[in-house]
Symmetry: C2
Subunit: 463 residues, 2 copies
């Protein structure tokens, strides 16, 4: 390989050239297949990152940054003429300041590891994508990850105070920092949140942290229609109650959790709602009861309340494992479950979900629905055969329909998984729908400002 | 005037050419004096905004957008060859959706008017700059306004879901929108937050709203040193209590409130702390007591707790009027009170405040200190004589020192008032301190992407 010597000089032992060793870096959690990269770099210092980017920039080698490899849209796979830049060795917490409400963390740190550490002082970092066991600080910033607790705490963009980044030319800058307030020029931090690695490499993050709620409790409610859940959530939110989490699962998902985790659910239930309430020790019982009464108004098949931490942890982990549980109900091992991710205003959910379910029926495909109902975030999980052209064309048509439904109901074609390779056309559809091509044109110019040679994750978000 | 006819054609009666009528548009709340603008435009429709910008862009006329004119850094004054674009006629609330937690508002709407309306359904829009009586949606977005409640709710950037904006070439786009989650390309909404009108004109805003806290209470505590307040805040925040607001006032400010509003304070008090706690009806009394005990640990001169709404409103309005009250203790009517605005991590406050007070003493100038102590946000109010060169040179030296202190303690030269004209050099200092000139260079390129002719608020933030 023509670059071997130069890369060895920059990275020493921190680089992989062996084809077999590269294999884990060629895929992510999406259905896309990557190409064999020129090399996989695993730098240990910011200086190595700088030298590597400057080298790639000079030689027009494309670079895909890699965190936990949990992208569901192909954002972390290498394409032709790529180097994979894994940030796995940047995995430390550098400082924690509960008084100032921030941590300084490296991008390769896993979210669960960060939260285990913060838990010791009764604090937490709210963004919690279902993949938090493997997802990293850098990766979750780069997709503006949401997750279950976004209902109360918003998405990643509200929790990033600042970044240290290396730009494609090898220069570096610090955006934002340790303070909770700042009004000093354009918010460059925000540009990196959701940029999917197309602007530069995050080498350090200043993250806002928050005290854990004093008391939490959980309501499980089962209904025969999604409309009822949608109405209940609308009533609850309009009344001024903000659920800590509010998740819905359809029957296919419940059945898969039964098979994968041995959980059981009422036979008559078509949809399940998991709703957490946060409050104070003195008020939690009353707040749960008040919320449960609003759910009772919509005639649930069954409803229960728990404050048992073990029971709550079990259900939480089950919900987080919903996607992987669906793999157990595939018709064959060649089937894949391709997860859709769209968002509408929560009050539009009943109508939007009805249209989505109708499209699945029309196409004759199996689709499992679950999602973060408090945010209006729907995950439609399509069972498809990557080797079967008809199946994949239906999958594509369904995804396009999902995007259309989201836009027509005032939402977005991607809520928390990003664009990657999968949704490039949908992003263009979205921008045409709202702004003709003005916004896309501005985004391209911003990309150009950071990365004039177009080396950063080329082929993702835009071409 | 050579442009009169063309502007009349675009704006009809919605344009001012008369010199006397232009006067109110030549200044803002800062000490800077503007030039007479070519005209003051007061458009009523988005189409008028588009036509006006396209006309200015073709004719290289510079445009300063104007909201409530409450800028403290000169961001809203016209310079040479400017048109003032007042958004005063865009002052409606277009829709309110408590279930989906958003409002759609026009940029000229005053923040207090928005919150009066939301109050009717027990919701609110958290950002509350002290100028909220006059400050507008568009202006507060454009400076990423903070205010008292930022301690718990963060700054404006966390509350803007999307924008409709008109770009300098007369095109328009919608960024973000009605949904709470979104991961679809670069966050263009965030770029407009804090851009001080240098990128385009905001014509509509999608704002997140939130239910009011169930119960609140207030603690007033007086101390003989700022170190004690700083320590108390550090202990309170580290323990997991998040104050709803936490404000400190120094003796000069207390005295001015005595003169301006007839309020009285303990004679021995050098510093006052106003700390609000939010909780549930059942827990508020206990939470106030727990917080007060942490304040008692630092030996206050006096401490009291109130839950009386009238008493609380009176103190809140007094704190919001602190800056204007200072005008009453000026030595002469030619003096101005120039407000500084810097931020450090809260735990750095005792050291930072000591250095700041020391510098005022060294220069022999009168400086009143107050601010949002929970955020580490210090407002140093300098009594200066605009006509006196020595006084102004001391004011400048003091402001420069403030910025230096902020940077050395890990903070920012501007917390919530922006850069405007006043802090252009300080912004350069800040970027040199953190990133050499990489970030400023990127910011300039972003400006260029939106506004290639440099017509939008030229001479602010950057040259």
């Amino acid at each position: 390989m023509e670059y071997t010597e130069a890369l060895r000089e920059i990275l020493g032992k921190n680089v992989i050239f062996d084809t077999v060793e590269k294999i884990p870096y060629m895929t992510d959690a999406s259905a896309f297949n990557g190409k064999e990269p020129i090399a996989v770099a695993l730098p240990e210092t910011v200086d190595e990152v700088k030298q590597l980017l400057a080298f790639c920039n000079s030689n027009k080698i494309f670079v895909v940054p890699r965190g936990g490899g949990t992208s569901l849209t192909g954002a972390s796979i290498p394409l032709e003429n790529f180097i994979v830049l894994s940030m796995a060795k940047f995995n430390r917490i550098l400082s924690i300041s509960p008084a100032d409400r921030y941590v300084v963390a490296e991008p390769g740190l896993r979210l669960d590891e960060l939260n285990d550490k913060l838990s010791e002082i009764n604090f937490f970092y709210p963004p919690d994508p279902a993949s938090s066991m493997a997802a990293t600080v850098g990766g979750s910033i780069s997709t503006n990850a949401g997750g279950l607790r976004a209902s109360m705490y918003g998405t990643t963009k509200e929790w990033v105070l600042g970044l240290e980044v290396v730009l494609p030319d090898g220069s570096s800058m610090i955006t934002g920092g340790r303070v909770l307030k700042r009004s000093a020029g354009y918010d460059l931090t925000a540009l990196f949140v959701g940029a999917e690695g197309t602007l530069g490499i995050i080498t350090k993050a200043f993250l806002k942290i928050w005290p854990k709620p004093e008391a939490t409790g959980r309501i499980l409610a089962y209904y025969d229609s999604i409309e009822k859940i949608g109405l209940a959530i609308r009533n609850i939110k309009a009344s001024g109650i903000t659920p800590l989490i509010a998740e819905f699962l359809d029957r296919i998902t419940m059945d898969s959790l039964n098979i994968a985790k041995g959980m059981s659910f009422p036979a008559a239930a078509s949809y399940m709602l998991i709703l957490d309430v946060a409050s104070t020790d003195l008020s939690i019982a009353g707040d749960l009861e008040k919320t449960a009464n609003m759910l009772r108004d919509l005639n649930p098949i069954e409803i229960s309340i728990t404050r048992d931490p073990d029971e709550m942890a079990r259900i939480y982990e089950a919900r987080k494992g919903a996607y992987s549980s669906l793999l157990k109900v595939r018709k064959s091992s060649s089937q894949r479950v391709i997860i859709g991710d769209v968002v509408v205003p929560a009050s539009e959910l009943p109508a939007a979900l009805k249209e989505i379910a109708g499209k699945a029926e029309e196409l004759g495909i199996m689709v499992a629905l679950f999602g973060h109902i408090s945010d209006g975030n729907i995950h439609a999980n399509i069972f498809a055969e990557p080797g079967n052209a008809e199946s994949m064309s239906k999958e594509e048509e369904f995804q396009k329909h999902l995007g259309k439904v989201a836009l027509e109901h005032g939402g977005s074609v991607s809520a928390e998984h990003g664009i990657g390779i999968e949704k490039k056309d949908l992003l263009l559809d979205q921008e045409k729908f709202t702004s003709s091509d003005v916004a896309i044109d501005i985004m391209r110019k911003i990309k150009q400002a950071f990365d004039p040679n177009g080396i950063m994750n080329r082929g993702k978000i835009f071409d």
